[in-house]
Subunit: 208 residues, 2 copies
């Protein structure tokens, strides 16, 4: 993981801090979150947290980077029958929580992650993280699509362009689901159906 | 326009207030914006603004609703040779400023509009506006696609589903362009190219 070389403490401590940050974000959101609350969530003193991280944002960025590392390294092609199944697994992650690296369907966490993404509009460190986030997502999808082309499941002359489009769709789903009511807006289920059709018609070789 | 019946003042006053709100959002963003600053931007006193609107958010929501009304009523099929050209005009609007109802390519305005959309994560009035925003966008696109099917330019069995997908892509473009660097992330130009291909391959009848 990307932060192993930076963190000066035991691996157990780092794990506890990351887990506590996730829990604190889920419970309190980002705007009003304090180092004190993160400390409570991982049963550590604020002074220990400040020993390892300069600020709340420093800790949260480490958490985001670690989640992204996990997403980047996770879900290898070997775990799936084919690229199509691998792609479905990524869709499942995106549609359940709006972002990579989290296991639970959790609306409050999704809201907090969007708050964090919004920091990127005016904070350079967050902007660098989410630039990497979009690049990692795009590269992951490109790799899966290329795997599919190689194994004969998919056909496309532009895996990277298709990956860019899918990344943008995921981002749109995340923002829409947090900021408009499903009924009146654009239900995520409709978009997923369209996404499946897009994959069928633009990528999958074995059309019915 | 949707607010004509509500606003108790001359049409000139309303127009000046809407124009000033747009200018103030562009100059100051949303977070630190004051009624005083909006007043300065439209050369009116804060007391006049408070006579017509209860709060800064009340005024901004009226501005957003009016912009959306304009988008909803604007760009009729008669203005274009065919549905494809009409769709391109909507794309041009989205790619130049990330949202409907604004004429200029303006990064600071786009950032402010995203800040406003983010209010919808925790504020019911904004959430209702952006729910309507997504619905209006979807309905506008559905109507254009149906026009295309009727005139023989487009072929699809699900205009509404395609419109939902396009709406999500627009939302994703808006969030990505404000929160990740183009180079490392997913450049809007790549996404537009993919969008054009999507339209070509999934909608347009007269394929080469």
């Amino acid at each position: 993981m990307g932060n192993d070389g930076i963190f000066e403490g035991s691996d157990d401590t780092r794990k506890a801090l990351m887990k506590g940050t996730l829990q604190a974000l889920r419970e309190h959101g980002y705007a009003d979150l304090t180092i004190q609350q993160i400390g409570e969530a991982c049963d550590k003193s604020p002074s220990l947290l400040y020993h390892h991280y300069d600020s709340k944002d420093d800790l949260i960025l480490a958490f985001l980077e670690q989640s992204l590392d996990r997403f980047e390294e996770g879900s290898t092609p070997q775990e799936f029958d084919d690229a199509r199944e691998h792609l479905q697994a990524v869709f499942d992650t995106v549609f359940s929580d709006g972002g990579p690296g989290n296991d639970e369907d959790d609306e409050s966490l999704m809201g907090a992650l969007l708050e964090l993404r919004m920091q990127a509009a005016h904070d350079q460190a967050y902007r660098e993280h989410f630039t990497r986030h979009d690049r990692v997502m795009r590269e992951k999808l490109t790799a899966i699509i290329k795997d599919g082309v190689e194994e004969g499941t998919f056909a496309t002359d532009d895996p990277d362009g298709m990956a860019a489009l899918l990344t943008t769709i995921f981002t749109g789903i995340h923002l829409q689901s947090a900021t408009s009511y499903e009924g009146g807006g654009v239900p995520a289920s409709d978009v997923r159906e369209q996404l499946e059709r897009l994959i069928e018609e633009r990528l999958v070789v074995d059309k019915v």
